[in-house]
C-alpha cells in the first residue's frame, strides 16, 4: 500500500486523514466536485485531472482532508463516476474502501429529458426512480418519462 501512496504523491500529494476519490472520469471531475458540494468545504482539497489510467485512459483523483462522506452523498457520484473508488485515509494509510452503488431514488443532479416536463418550466427540483444502473435509466417522478444516461444534463 505504501508504494501505491508514494506513486500517487508524484501527481497529487497524499493526505493524512480524509477521503480519496479515485478513478473519476476526467471529463466528470468538476461535476463530481459540484455534486458533493466540495466548494463549501473549508478543509484542504487537492485534485488532479487527465492522469494516466489503465482502466479509464484518463482519470481524475480528488483528495479531501478531514472529510468523511455518508453513504447518501457517495451514492450521488455513482451517477457520474460509477467506477470511482473511495478510500478512507487515517494517518496516511487506507483503512477502509467504500463501495459506490447507484441509489434507488435521485433528487436533483440531472434535468429531466422531457422538454415538456413541469420541472423544466418551473422552479422544481426533479426527482427520479432509478430503473436500471448500467447504463443508468431514470424515471421522472412527475412526468413519468425516462431519462437515459447518455442524455444526462447536470444541474
Amino acid at each position: 500500500m505504501s508504494t501505491h501512496i508514494q506513486g500517487k504523491q508524484l501527481n497529487v500529494s497524499a493526505i493524512k486523514n480524509g477521503t480519496v476519490i479515485d478513478h473519476v472520469p476526467s471529463k466528470n471531475l468538476f461535476e463530481v466536485i459540484s455534486i458533493l458540494k466540495l466548494q463549501n468545504i473549508d478543509s484542504q482539497i487537492t485534485f488532479g485531472s487527465n492522469l494516466e489510467s489503465k482502466k479509464l485512459g484518463s482519470k481524475a483523483i480528488i483528495k479531501i482532508s478531514d472529510k468523511f462522506f455518508v453513504q447518501d452523498e457517495i451514492n450521488k457520484i455513482a451517477i457520474l463516476a460509477p467506477q470511482a473508488r473511495l478510500s478512507i485515509i487515517k494517518d496516511y494509510a487506507v483503512v477502509e474502501k467504500q463501495k459506490i452503488s447507484v441509489p434507488e431514488y435521485i433528487h436533483g443532479i440531472t434535468k429531466c429529458f422531457n422538454p415538456s416536463c413541469i420541472t423544466n418550466h418551473q422552479n422544481i427540483k426533479p426527482k427520479y426512480t432509478v430503473l436500471a444502473d448500467n447504463p443508468i435509466s431514470l424515471q421522472c417522478f412527475y412526468c413519468e418519462k425516462i431519462t437515459e444516461q447518455e442524455h444526462f444534463d447536470f444541474i
Binding site: I118, H121, Q122, F141, Y142, C143
Partner: protein, 302 residues
C-alpha cells in the same frame, strides 16, 4: 379515496374503479342530487379545454356545488409570472378541491405534493387524464354489463394517445383481449407492450381495421393527426385507412359499441352517428356522472 388526489389512473386499484362505476350509475339515476351543497371546487385550466372544463362544471353544478377558477391561463396570474406553486397555494385557500388542466407533463403530480386540498388531474400535457379513463370504463360497463373478458379494439394514434395508454393500463385488470390497430408509425410504445406481456394480457397488433371488427366488443376510435407523422406522404397514405364508415358495421357484433374520447374530426364518418352502435355522445354524458362520483368520493361525501 377520501382526501386523496387523483393524478394518474394508477392511483386507483380495481376496487376503486368499481366503486366509481357504481357511484356514477347512482348519479345517473339522480341520487345524491345536492351532495356538493356548500362545497366550492377550484377549476384551474392553464390551457383551454372547453369539453373537459364544461364536463367538470356541469358535474359540480348538477350536484349543487359551486365552482370558481379560470378557463385559460391568459386570464390568470400565471401570465404575470406567478409560479404554479403560488397559484395552487393561493387557490387552495378558497376551495375544497382543485381540478386542474396544465400544458406540462407532471404539473398535477407536483400540485398534489404541495396542495393542502386534493387535486384532480384534468390532463397534464401528454401525460395523464385519469377521469377520461374512468368515464370510458363506466361507458364500457354500462354498454356491456360487465368489464371482464371483453375484446377491446383501439384504433388510430396508439403512440401518443394518452387516453389509449391509460385505458390499457386500467382494463388490463379485467382479462381483456386487445386489438391494437394503427399505422406502423403510430403503434403502441414498447414500454406498454412490455407491461401487457408481463401481465400475460393477449394483444394483437394490426394495421387493418377491417379484420378485427367482427370480434370486437368495444371499438375505441382516436384521431390520427397529421402533425404526428414525420413524413407527410405517410400521412396521406394512412389518413383514410382508419376512418370508420357505416358500411363497415355490417358484420360486427350486436353488443359492439363505438367509443371516442372526442373531439372527432373525420375518423368516424357522420353516417355512423345514427347507428345504435355509436356511443360517443352518451360517453361524453357519462363523463359528467363519473366526475360527480369522483368529486364526491374524494370529498368524502359518499
Amino acid at each position: 379515496m377520501k382526501g386523496k388526489s387523483l393524478v394518474s389512473i394508477l392511483d386507483y386499484q380495481v376496487e376503486e374503479y368499481l366503486q366509481i362505476i357504481q357511484l356514477a350509475s347512482e348519479f345517473e339515476a339522480l341520487k345524491h342530487q345536492n351532495i356538493l351543497h356548500g362545497k366550492v371546487v377550484g377549476s384551474l385550466f392553464f390551457e383551454p379545454s372547453t369539453r373537459t372544463r364544461l364536463s367538470f362544471e356541469s358535474a359540480v353544478n348538477h350536484s349543487g356545488g359551486r365552482i370558481i377558477g379560470f378557463s385559460d391561463s391568459n386570464t390568470s396570474s400565471s401570465t404575470k409570472g406567478e409560479s404554479l406553486k403560488d397559484t395552487i397555494l393561493t387557490v387552495a385557500n378558497y376551495c375544497d378541491l382543485i381540478v386542474m388542466r396544465h400544458p406540462h407533463d407532471g404539473a398535477a403530480k407536483f400540485a398534489s405534493e404541495i396542495s393542502p386540498v386534493p387535486i384532480i388531474n384534468a390532463g397534464d400535457g401528454a401525460n395523464q387524464h385519469p377521469t377520461q379513463t374512468l368515464l370510458d370504463m363506466y361507458s364500457i360497463y354500462k354498454t356491456q354489463g360487465k368489464l371482464d373478458n371483453l375484446t377491446i379494439s383501439l384504433i388510430g394514434d396508439l403512440k401518443y394517445g394518452r387516453t389509449v395508454h391509460s385505458l390499457l393500463m386500467a382494463m388490463m385488470n379485467f382479462s381483456p383481449k386487445f386489438n391494437l390497430v394503427s399505422p406502423k408509425e403510430l403503434c403502441l410504445p414498447v414500454e406498454y407492450k412490455k407491461i401487457l406481456n408481463a401481465h400475460s394480457v393477449p394483444f394483437n397488433e394490426d394495421t387493418d381495421l377491417h379484420t378485427i371488427l367482427p370480434e370486437t366488443d368495444i371499438l375505441y376510435m382516436t384521431r390520427v393527426q397529421k402533425e404526428r407523422f414525420s413524413d407527410p406522404i405517410e400521412y396521406e397514405k394512412n389518413k383514410n385507412l382508419y376512418v370508420l364508415k357505416s358500411s363497415m358495421l355490417e358484420n360486427t357484433k350486436d353488443n359492439m359499441k363505438i367509443l371516442h374520447p372526442l373531439p372527432r374530426v373525420n375518423e368516424i364518418s357522420q353516417c355512423v352517428d345514427s347507428s345504435p352502435k355509436a356511443y360517443y355522445f352518451q360517453q361524453a354524458k357519462n363523463g359528467m356522472f363519473t366526475r360527480q362520483a369522483i368529486i364526491s368520493s374524494i370529498l368524502g361525501l359518499i
